[in-house]
Amino acid sequence: MKAEILEKLQVLAESAKYDVSCASSGTTRKSTPGGIGSTSGWGICHSFTEDGRCVSLLKIMLTNYCIYDCAYCINRRSNDLKRATFSVSELVELTIEFYRRNYIEGLFLSSGVVNNPDYTMERMVRVVKDLRTIHRFNGYIHMKSIPGASQQLVHEAGLYSDRLSVNIEIANEQNLKMLAPEKDHDSVYKPMLYIQQGVLQNAEDRQKFRSAPRFAPAGQSTQMIIGATNESDKQILNTSVALYNRPSMKRVYYSGYIPVNAYDNRLPALKQAPLVRENRLYQADWLLRFYEFNVDEIVDDRYPDLDLEIDPKLAWALRHPEQFPIDINKADYNMILRIPGIGVKSAKLIVASRRFTRLTSYDLKKMGIVMKKAQYFITCNELTSSTVSDTSPEYIRKLLTGKKTPKGKDNQHQLTLLFD
């Protein structure tokens, strides 16, 4: 491999990095004799970029030439930008050599559109096919399907990939057409449907023949850009729920709009990407998937947008003081999950331990439960300090958002995706 590759790699990584998904989880693939690698089931991050994002897959474009002109994308054809294209064999070798050094879990392949969707998709399929068949590569492969690609190519991609994705990008179709004139929801939902059909069909086949080849065993994901258009969080989260209702849809990613094309006045003039809002959406997404929350409990007509100051679970609790305090020693698991500051792990610990002893707040602290928020919403063995039902939601809110930490610091803290 030659040194010019370095320049290509940098150009094509720069162009690919705005796609936020990087998960390598959702499937296991055992190593095979004579083959390279394995897929572990739990996502492995091999590194973290300086903006704090996980590096798990070699996230790369096959080419950043594009015939489309999507306003939110740095690779749009009207941008004057360094362009490059990998050959199939270059990209295959790069993936394998990175993998052998334990830099990556596998490949995340996307591409700009050259000539037409199928032409592009066919070259992408060649990369993943070579990896799997010639090199017997067992690492993770995520392929971003090109909007408008044919069912046959999507199907072939699914045979070699663990996960496929088609990005919806903008929740409202009118807005999508405004920013990406060559796209519409049909061009997104059709390939999504092909993937779904492939996954369902495959599940059936594999029941009959255990040896039937797998089709996108880690399902599909998609991404929405946040803050480039005027959708409310209610619209966005309802779109997510509709997407999650489709079989095979595993993850919806939210990507705070980064003003890469500031000159385009169809786009809002933002100084910074809406990172806090993005984080709140992820938190809301978690509440939907792991905390048994209903979307109407998080956003409704009265509160169409998430509160930026506090997390959505706390916001819900403060809107429902009548549900509290919750008795740690008696309440059902799903109510314990609703206590602000208590995560899934802590809730499970509580339910497991209280069979032995009545838990006190001291026990909770020992278990590593952060009481900062929780203290206002629980009772345990002893008398507690004032809970939300003795005082008022407004008072608790003030206590918890009080400017004890300097503003900048607090802000940074909110950028982490972890929350309870």
Partner: protein
Amino acid sequence: MTALYDAYNRKTFPDKLLAFDEQEPLFVTESHSVITDNLNSARVWKGLEQKLHANTLNMLTCVWLSELPGSDELIFRYARKTFDSKHSIEMNFADADVLQMKKIAQKVNHERHRLIELVRFQKAADDVFFAPVSPDHNCLALTINHFKDRFRDQKWIIYDTKRNYGYYYDLKNVTEMTLDSTNLFPEGKLDEKLMAEDEKLFQDLWRGYFKAMTIKERINPKLHRQHLPQRYWKYLTEKQ
């Protein structure tokens, strides 16, 4: 484990366990030297196997490998509580020892994951992939099955520079090994003369890729360090 066997035999239970080279604290009323006896410790382990889940046994191993001060006594107390109690104590996290076991085991397990993620192989001229590591806990052994499975068609060495031992995989078996000299890889970098021909290129490519991936508009050093603690940087190709 032998200590535990002896204690049950002697019907006295110690306040403290010491390694042979440790100083005894003042006011020792009685001391008993434990000579490791494989038979007796196997008996104790068997006893534990009957009372504990496989997961809990793994946890005991993790705590042992943590090399944290007091972890031996913790295991001792935990085992004793297990034998003395009619019911399983495994889920009783209100018990300080049970909780502490879980916490330490989690720490070790966490570092095991870190190793799996952060090992960086450098390809040597003789086609062996070499990776130095220096984990806080002695958990390299816990990662070997993973690497053996994943990199089964390449020869590799993963070497703990802190404890001066490592594992070598020769395409068939993994063997424990100790190098006579660590001069071949000052600061964790393989000597350039020993590197495979294109090793430098791939390291440069990886560094270039890593740099290009950063979104400057979102830079967040605190989050970066939180995910990728500085103590691991010295062997990370992308941070060199």
